[in-house]
């Protein structure tokens, strides 16, 4: 039987490395092709990693919690009789980079950080015996036993965890939330019994509000905190300048009369057994139809050619707690409104739950970003390369309007398209937008 290398796959366009969240198979498990081996956190989402070969998962080289570069060997699938020693050695020795290095270091790092690692070492943690019990452990790191014991009683209630080392008293839940949100517990005053940090203290710190108990000015060092970038925020920080700097953006804005669309939507939403249609669904449908008529907008600069797409795969920007993700609704031009509504809702929900599959995160030919729910009149979005344009959608507002019959009240929505000037010109963007506007103002066109 063949030996199958399990490597860190490229799960999204922008991915450079991936973190193993957890292995769903363990060493010794029999694997079929297509089995889910592990969950991987990429810069965009948490993604399931499939096995491509069959056999036994003989070796896991990158444990859960560690990061590996794309292509790095993270495991080996083989039959029990196969010799994999050379392969495993090559991974450990050769420049597998992040993968092998990361794999070697964690036990040490764990020990140095907190006196409660797994296994035998934990026995030594409470009683600070020298490291003789675990010969591989470095001699110094089982640190600070005196501080651990001494700190709580030495400190008056409510004051002072301070910034020096020493045990921080916090509830397990508070610690968990702090770890998730990147809040440094040493900088927080606890409002629980004996100064214990409890959930509300961490949440107050995380939201930037004042701590639950007002502190005197003595709170040195608490003026700011450095919240480490999450994978997704790091990806956004890396990618957006790659768009805004080299891609010459221009913007075209148009106001759309949404009265008919609003009415139609309300009628559709009274139909029993039909999916609920959102304004965004109408915009997706209208954009898809307009992209078919204006393929120049559904285009991407590829070196010295412009690639014009014949299908409209539309990215839908979804706001998350810690960033933004753009799942792709494929073949929008060929899908009726109801199907768009159902599939878009499903994508958005799974995006929020970080349950998207890798292929749902790439391949958009155009994107839509809608901030309508935030009562935004209009805004302009940054193009998500290699796409050629993105449509920014504002709120549907009731505004005074003047028409032939005089002054009345109407529903209006602002659309702003950001275009890559290397791919298209202002008139092209304007004609596209005009078409979107017409489709939304005569919304029966969205149904035929």
């Amino acid at each position: 039987m063949a030996v199958t290398k399990v490597v860190m796959p490229k799960l999204s366009d922008a991915m450079e490395s991936g973190k193993i969240i957890k292995w769903l198979k363990k060493e010794g498990d029999r694997i079929q092709g297509g089995d889910i081996l592990a969950e991987v956190e990429t810069d965009k989402a948490d993604v399931e990693m499939e096995a491509f070969g069959a056999g036994v998962l003989r070796k896991i080289l990158v444990p859960a919690g560690e990061t590996a570069a794309i292509g790095a060997l993270i495991g080996v699938i083989a039959e029990p009789g196969d010799d994999i020693a050379a392969l495993v050695a090559s991974a450990a020795g050769a420049g597998a980079g992040a993968g092998s290095a990361a794999q070697k270091t964690p036990p040490r790092a764990e020990l140095a950080r907190a006196p409660a690692p797994a296994g035998a070492a934990s026995a030594t943690a409470s009683a600070p015996r020298p490291a003789a019990a675990t010969p591989s452990a470095p001699p110094t790191p089982v640190a600070r036993p005196a501080a651990v014991v001494g700190a709580p009683s030495a400190v008056p209630a409510g004051l002072g965890q301070g910034t020096q080392s020493g045990r921080v008293k916090a509830s397990p839940l508070a610690k968990k939330i702090a770890a998730q949100t990147g809040v440094d517990l040493r900088l927080i005053q606890g409002s629980g019994p004996g100064g214990r940090i409890i959930r509300r203290d961490v949440e107050a710190a995380g939201s930037g509000a004042a701590p639950a108990i007002a502190m005197p000015a003595a709170a040195a060092g608490a003026e700011f905190e450095d919240v480490p970038l999450t994978q997704i925020r790091a990806a956004i920080a890396r990618r957006m300048p790659l768009s805004k700097a080299p891609v010459p953006h221009f913007y075209v804005t148009s106001e759309v009369a949404m009265d008919h669309a609003w009415e139609l939507r309300e009628q559709l939403n009274t139909l029993e057994g039909q999916p609920k249609i959102s304004v965004n669904d109408l915009v997706i449908r209208a954009s898809a139809l307009a992209l078919l008529s204006h393929p120049g907008v559904n285009a991407s600069l590829q070196g010295d050619a412009i690639r014009v797409f014949h299908r409209a795969h539309i990215g839908i920007a979804v706001a998350l707690e810690d960033g933004l993700i753009t799942p792709v609704l494929r073949d929008c031009h060929a899908k009726p409104l109801a199907q768009i509504a159902v599939e878009a809702r499903d994508l958005v929900e799974r995006a929020r739950n970080r349950k998207l599959r890798a292929q749902e995160l790439s391949g958009a030919t155009f994107s839509i970003s809608n901030l309508g729910m935030f009562d935004v009149t209009e805004f302009s979005a940054i193009i998500n390369p290699p796409e050629g344009a993105i449509l920014a959608v504002g709120s549907v507002r009731r505004v005074p309007v003047v028409d032939e019959s005089g002054l009345g009240v109407g529903r209006r929505m602002m659309l702003t398209i950001s275009c890559d000037h290397r791919v298209m010109d202002g008139a092209m963007g304007a004609r596209f937008l005009q078409d979107v506007k017409r489709l939304l103002e005569e919304p029966l066109r969205l149904l035929v």
């Binding site: 839940l173 968990k176 019994p193």
Partner: protein
Amino acid sequence: MAVMTYREALNMALREEMHRDPSVFVIGEEVGLYEGAYKVTQGLLKEFGAQRVVDTPIAESGFTGVGIGAAMAGLRPVVEMMTFNFALLALDQIVNSAAKMYYMSGGQFNVPIVIRGPGGPAAQLAAQHSQSMETYFYHVPGLKVVRPTTPMDAKGLLKSSIRDDNPVIFIESETLYNVKGEVPEDPDFLIPLGKAIVRREGTDVTVIAYMGMMYRAMEAAEELEKEGISVELVDPRTLRPMDTETIINSVRKTHRVVVVEAGAGFAGMGSEIAASVTEQAFDDLDAPVERVTGSNAPMPYARNLEKLKTPSKDWIVAAVRRVCNANGS
């Protein structure tokens, strides 16, 4: 649904099961002619005859042994303890025979017996007759232990206990016999053993209690609601096997736990639940698990001292305020 007392619900369960299965019989002191010291077996002698409603001498070890033997031979006895404190006299039969027979006979004999009767503190029954006897039994592998809080639970759980193929300790309460509640008249109505119930939904703290303590906890929840503290009430109903899943799910929601029990706290149900919560939901806790238990003393006879020994609504309210870090602590 009919509204009836806890006592009537138990009586209904016994009558229905005796109709359903001719191997079910009742045995104990004063269960026949006198119709039960607390009238739980009222009317059964008349309806089913002396073969199936058996009066015994005052000899708990003896008639419990008779019940265990009958169960091994294929019958389904329901043994009444006039009060559960008297089960101490039958402890060897229950612990060494009923609980272990299935194991020690290599599965040849199971013991489908129910031992039922009132237990826990009541009103001036003094030290020997006020004990929370469940603590003596739920430690024993092989026994199931049930404590039904409402009339509906009394019926549904007693019927499940009678149909269970293992020995079940079923402890009622003098103070609850006259409590009224809705009870399904359906003879097939059952409540499975080992299933807790959320009696009240809340978001800030989980209070776990059963029997009389659940009623105190309900009063406490009402009062705390006025202070803006939302209490979730969980009633285990079966103490062994314990439905930790329901408890843990609640803890994951509220992040704080108060366990209430009438008996003394040392090695009590509160300790057990606190250990389970710590093991399974440590990272969800925002405060230590707090226990509200009876004081560590024999139950006094004097009414004022009895009150001081037994957890009250106020004790529960104070404990909840502490774990919620609310004022008044």
